[in-house]
Symmetry: none
Subunit: 202 residues, 4 copies
DNA sequence: AATGAATGAGTATTCATTCAT
DNA sequence: CATGAATGAATACTCATTCAT
């Protein structure tokens, strides 16, 4: 009767909890987030929460990790397998991806990492390995391939993929801090990409 | 030779305290910073600290403000009064300034604001008015002048000075989070400026 | 044989705590009472205490209220339903009641109210409505009935029931302040009642 | 030029301080009164205050004592030397005196004693010896004299002078606690005296 | 004598974590 | 597994008192 639901919930518990935790951390930051509030929002008792996550810190790490994994992989695969020219890829899928990031949970994670990173170096390492280094590596390879194919000049951009994503970072910070001051972040990123391409195209 | 327990330095106290507080907040963030440690580092009793700052929050705000004011004004004045061409100014003083920021206390303040901004909107407003809006405004005017003088094309950059400072933001975040992964932030900014100038120059 | 550290007595806790708190407030007054001592006497951790009472002030109010409610109602009912003559009632149940008050917890509450009333006007209001105004009202009605029945003259006593309870107040204050100086408070009240009755009887 | 004032102030300092302290204690009670506020209101530095009174408690005691002494003596002398009959004295000077008390500083002192008495037994002793026992003794003697002179019957009132002052106590407590509920305290005391006299007169 | 900056012990309150049920 | 009552260490803030000036 009600059992299937019960079964299902049991399976989903960790996810339900990290999702509730994500919201709470997003709202209050790590230090000011209450474990109790996480439990309440997850519809779970405090005790049960501690059954799944040994400490608040564990929970925090789980939250960061759970958000991180998803999104990126699709992009990475596309980069490796795409048949588009590098320019087309940058103008298309990459720009699209960058536009989505500042409003996504990733922005929250970045904020949490900036705030708490110093006290959780392993988390930063994790994030570095799974997101930043992978992401930047993929972009670098995309540019490289453009160079190899004779689309692009060989410029510092090949070594510094950060140059491509910089406006995404700015947009993210802007949304976090200055939400009430409008900024056309799409335009920002489009123009930036334009600029970069003008600079590197042969 | 014992240090005097009493010192009576009403004039210097606020600065001594905010400086100690800056260090502590920089290390731990707002929530995890202990008032007692601030006092200890300032070589002062907890009680005295509360004589100068009514609450921990007040102290935090004083710290943010004390860091903010200084640096920027010199640059702004230079922008308004310089006899350099816009290009020369951007390549010279502005780039220099941008290179210095990521390693300066401003980076710490940014980090604190990103972490705590949501709970201290007045602080964000303060920062916006005194730093961001002023700074971006000055850069925008510099570009504008370049356009007026026939140095530059009229591009989106005129409306989006964020495009110029984006790599500075990236460098800052990088230093905060990934200090141990080297990144040639100077090269990053130089290349970026190169790119922008190539894009906007007639 | 070690006492269990955990007890789980949600039902009884509030009463256990307010009772301990009553003792502590009685001994030290509000301001000098330490929450920690209340907890200790209640055999409870400080944290638990705050689970039941949001603040020390809340606890204080709960204590006052918990003492107030009880005692009076029986008397009030008796006054309304008694078949005794007013004189017999005053000489009997009322006098008995008055004799008991100065040694009862009510005396403590009065002391606390006198001490702290100014800073807790709502508590004074509460006490006024639930005790003083009810009690004086009932006594007034008792006298009035005596007048209606032709037992008593219509004197100022009808309007000023305080005249009947005055020696109870004196006895209370005396016990609070001058416990070590003996005073036959029973005799005091008996004589007083005698005096009043002599004055109002036809 | 300004010297005389300086001299004068020096003489008056203790009085100025205790007067300021009286106000502050009256407003906040002992525990919640700030020494700093006393100093400020006395127009004196905290340090100087501690030159005159070793501790807050000393200051408190000085305040209590300073208020106590005055008023009573005049009455006592009058009682001993009056040529009025006892009845006339009670109806006249004594009643007048009683009427003045509830609105006088004495009421404040009583409140402070009720609140703090337990922790300052010596103060209670002091008050007992200098005020209560003297005052009640004098009233008792007045009644006694009435008995000796054949004005009054020999009743319990002779032994329990509290019976005469009871409504004064009630009025005092009333003003302290229920200031906003009107009570004709003069009428209360007049009627009471009437009652007592009717009871004890031959 | 006079000041008020400085001290530090003391206290209410919070919250991650535990554990009897 | 699940609960939430219970714990207690941690921490911001206060205020009587001291003492260099």
């Amino acid at each position: 009767m009600a059992e299937p639901r019960y079964q299902r919930r049991k399976q989903d518990r960790p996810k339900e909890i990290t999702e509730a935790a994500f919201d709470v951390f997003a709202e209050h930051g790590y230090a000011s987030a209450r474990v109790e509030e996480v439990a309440k929002r997850a519809g779970v008792s405090k005790g049960l929460l501690y059954l799944y996550f040994k400490t608040k810190e564990e929970l925090f790490k789980a939250v960061i990790r759970s958000v991180v994994i998803r999104r990126l992989d699709a992009l990475l695969v596309t980069i490796e397998t795409t048949e588009l020219s590098s320019e087309a890829f940058i103008r298309g899928p990459l720009l699209e991806f960058m536009k989505r990031v500042p409003g996504s949970p990733v922005a929250v994670v970045i904020r949490l990492l900036i705030a708490e990173g110093q006290r959780h170096p392993d988390l930063v390492d994790y994030y570095w390995e799974n997101v930043v280094s992978k992401g930047l590596g993929a972009i670098a390879r995309c540019v490289e391939r453009g160079v190899e194919r004779g689309e692009f000049r060989d410029t510092a951009v090949t070594q510094l993929p950060q140059l491509l994503v910089a406006p995404m970072m700015v947009s993210m910070i802007w949304k976090i801090l200055f939400a009430k001051r409008t900024l056309d972040t799409d335009k920002l990123m489009e123009t930036h990409i334009e600029m970069v391409l003008a600079y590197i195209k042969l």
